[in-house]
């Protein structure tokens, strides 16, 4: 689905440049729940930004469904994100002036989905995240866990091929975090969506089918296949 081929990324820092990612190659397979783990500053978020097509590498290629995105325009990247990608952020990033319903329906408005279809899909994901009684509430009237569930529903509503989740449990307490993780896992299966999560939360990794470890901008050779290990 998405392949990162020998990508590197540097940022200007003081007098010079700091390399955040160094020759990282990665393939996200359809339907997989993948985690990027590692300590703070190891490059997880940068790698996730490249996966989410909101940033471009300095070197290497990003290939989306056999389309090399190295030379495509920003408008094309926006179009792919608009149609095929969903995002879940650490701080939820809901639109404060919109109701729960409007927040979730927003991606469908972008894709100009018909009203009736919007209604059906929003109802479906709202039911799935268990927030049917909160559709008229605004984000500031919800708890942290509820907000993250709205964010998950918003990411899922357009049935994207890929969901990018950056530290989705970092702002939540332990119980809520586990609930949210289980929900993401369940829904990704239910909606057949690929999910890639950047996290340093070790509670999350047992739920992932692939775990990639990053250290100082390099992907370590160790690839944990949680499910297979559990089976063995």
């Amino acid at each position: 689905m998405l392949t990162l081929d020998c990508v590197s990324k540097s940022y200007a820092s003081g007098q010079g440049y700091q390399k955040v990612l160094d020759q990282v190659s990665l393939t996200l397979e359809p339907g997989r729940f993948t985690a990027l783990v590692g300590p703070s500053g190891c490059g997880k978020s940068t790698l996730l930004n490249l996966c989410g097509l909101i940033d471009r590498p300095n070197e290497g290629r990003v290939v989306w469904q056999e389309e090399d995105l190295s030379a495509v325009s920003d408008a094309r990247l926006t179009e792919i994100r608009r149609q095929r990608l969903g995002f879940v952020f650490q701080s939820f990033n809901l639109i404060p002036v919109m109701s729960v319903w409007d927040n979730i329906a927003y991606p469908l408005m972008l894709t100009q989905t018909a009203k009736a279809e919007q209604k059906r899909r929003v109802n479906e994901v709202i039911d799935a995240v268990g927030l049917s009684d909160f559709i008229r509430k605004r984000p500031d009237e919800l708890s942290g866990g509820q907000r993250q569930r709205v964010a998950i529903a918003r990411a899922l509503v357009k049935q994207p091929a890929l969901i990018i989740a950056d530290e989705p449990t970092a702002s939540l307490d332990e119980d809520t975090a586990l609930t949210v993780i289980r929900l993401m896992k369940t829904l990704s299966h239910q909606f057949k969506t690929t999910v890639v999560v950047a996290t340093h939360d070790s509670r999350l990794t047992p739920f992932c089918e692939r775990v990639y470890q990053l250290d100082h901008g390099r992907l370590l050779p160790r690839v944990q296949r949680a499910k297979e290990e559990l089976v063995s």
Binding site: N49, R81, R82, Y106
Partner: protein
């Protein structure tokens, strides 16, 4: 949810700031409407005054307004009675009034001074309406027999200079059409004030026949054509030009020098004020949009990450500015409407303008066209100000916007 609905909701984020910007916009629009309303009222009053003064269209000798006369009435108009009869048959013409301008010396026997005279038909006071104030005595009589002593109306300051009062006897001296000196004994019928002190120091009005007797002529200086419809002036000007190709046909506005100079002056003064008000509104909205975009940087990043195009994000901010512009304009229009109504109800008077002795009622015209123009201008300025404030911010890289604290 459409972008405009999103923009509408965004206006509620910081209500105090939105309200302050809205009020400032409203005050700007009310200011624009009030200044333009005052200017329009002044233009309309002066237009009305100019039309009433000499008529909507003025018939004269073709060169009367072009060159100086060598002798009095050398460029006068003859055969006026027949002309008046013909024009009087036109249903669109309310009245025709002949007048004769002359000058000379006026004396009470002890003291002489220069005067500017006008021979008029006595109906002039009915046709023109209130153009001057009668301070004492009466207006010219409607008929004047040949045996009667000629009557004059004097300007207030001229009457004071000559110690004249109604009933006083004076003598007018002037050069006749043939270049001779002639004198006419007259009786003061009334003392009037035009509101312009300099004019009141020289003004003499008498019957047209008396003026013609003094100048020994049957000509008149000009014939004012008064129409029933103020808007028909251009049509009648054209019609009379075709009808009387040998006469000078002058529309009222070509002789309305005061109207032209006031209009030119006010256009500049109120034009500059309008620009200042628009700039003020522009800066207020620029400030609001700048603050708003700064506070919502992360949100802009989120929207962009989800696939919202730059121009769509920008359109939300521009819609917010347009909404403030439109709402502020509406409030401003209501405010100016109330102000206009209040001035009529409470009969507020303006002080006399320079060179005049009488004030006039302060009124503001509420022009629908000006309302539309003000609203459109303010809304456009609002959108442009917002564009300047937000364009660079919405182009910020998504990762940078998402990490903005």
């Amino acid at each position: 949810m459409k972008w405009i609905a999103f923009a509408w909701k965004n206006l509620g984020r910081n209500r105090r700031r939105t309200l302050a910007t809205l009020l400032l916009t409203a005050i700007g629009v009310a200011g624009l409407m009030s200044t333009s309303g005052f200017a329009l009222y002044t233009y309309e009053s002066l237009r009305e005054f100019s039309m009433r003064d000499k008529g909507h269209v003025i018939l004269s000798h073709p060169l009367y307004f072009e060159q100086e006369e060598d002798t009095p009435m050398a460029l006068g108009l003859s055969g006026v009675t027949q002309l008046q009869r013909t024009l009087g048959a036109d249903p669109g013409i309310r009245a025709t009034l002949a007048s004769l301008q002359f000058n000379g010396l006026i004396t009470n026997g002890d003291k002489s001074t220069i005067f500017l005279g006008e021979g008029v038909e006595p109906e002039v006071f009915q046709v023109q309406g209130p153009m001057m104030t009668l301070n004492s005595g009466r207006l010219l009589s409607m008929t004047l027999n040949t045996a009667d002593i000629p009557q004059v109306l004097l300007g207030q300051r001229l009457a004071e200079a000559l110690n004249a009062e109604p009933g006083s006897g004076l003598t007018l001296m002037s050069t006749t059409a043939g270049g001779l000196l002639n004198a006419l004994d007259v009786e003061v019928r009334g003392i009037v004030s035009s509101g312009i002190p300099d004019l009141d120091a020289r003004m003499v009005m008498t019957h047209l026949g008396s003026a013609q007797e003094l100048l020994m002529t049957d000509k008149v200086s000009q014939l004012g054509v008064y129409l029933r419809d103020n808007q028909a002036d251009r049509r009648y000007q054209q019609q009379l030009q075709e009808q009387y190709p040998d006469l000078g046909v002058t529309p009222w506005h070509e002789r309305a020098f005061f109207y032209d100079s006031v209009r030119s002056l006010y256009n500049r003064i109120f034009g500059v004020m309008g620009v200042i008000l628009l700039v003020m509104v522009g800066f207020a909205i620029f400030n609001t949009a700048s603050m708003s975009v700064l506070e919502r940087t992360r949100e802009i990043g989120t929207l962009a990450a989800m696939g919202t195009r730059r121009r769509e994000v920008l359109s939300v901010f521009l819609s917010e500015a347009a909404l403030i512009g439109l709402l502020g304009s509406l409030v401003g229009l209501v405010l100016s409407g109330l102000l206009s109504l209040g001035l009529i109800l409470f009969d507020v008077q303006m002080p006399p303008p320079p060179g005049q002795t009488e004030g006039y009622p302060l009124q503001l015209y509420f022009s629908p066209l000006m309302a539309l123009l003000s609203t459109a201008l303010v809304s456009i300025i609002a959108v442009l100000a917002s564009l300047f404030a937000t364009a660079s911010s919405v182009r910020k890289p998504i990762t940078e916007a998402l990490n903005y604290v």
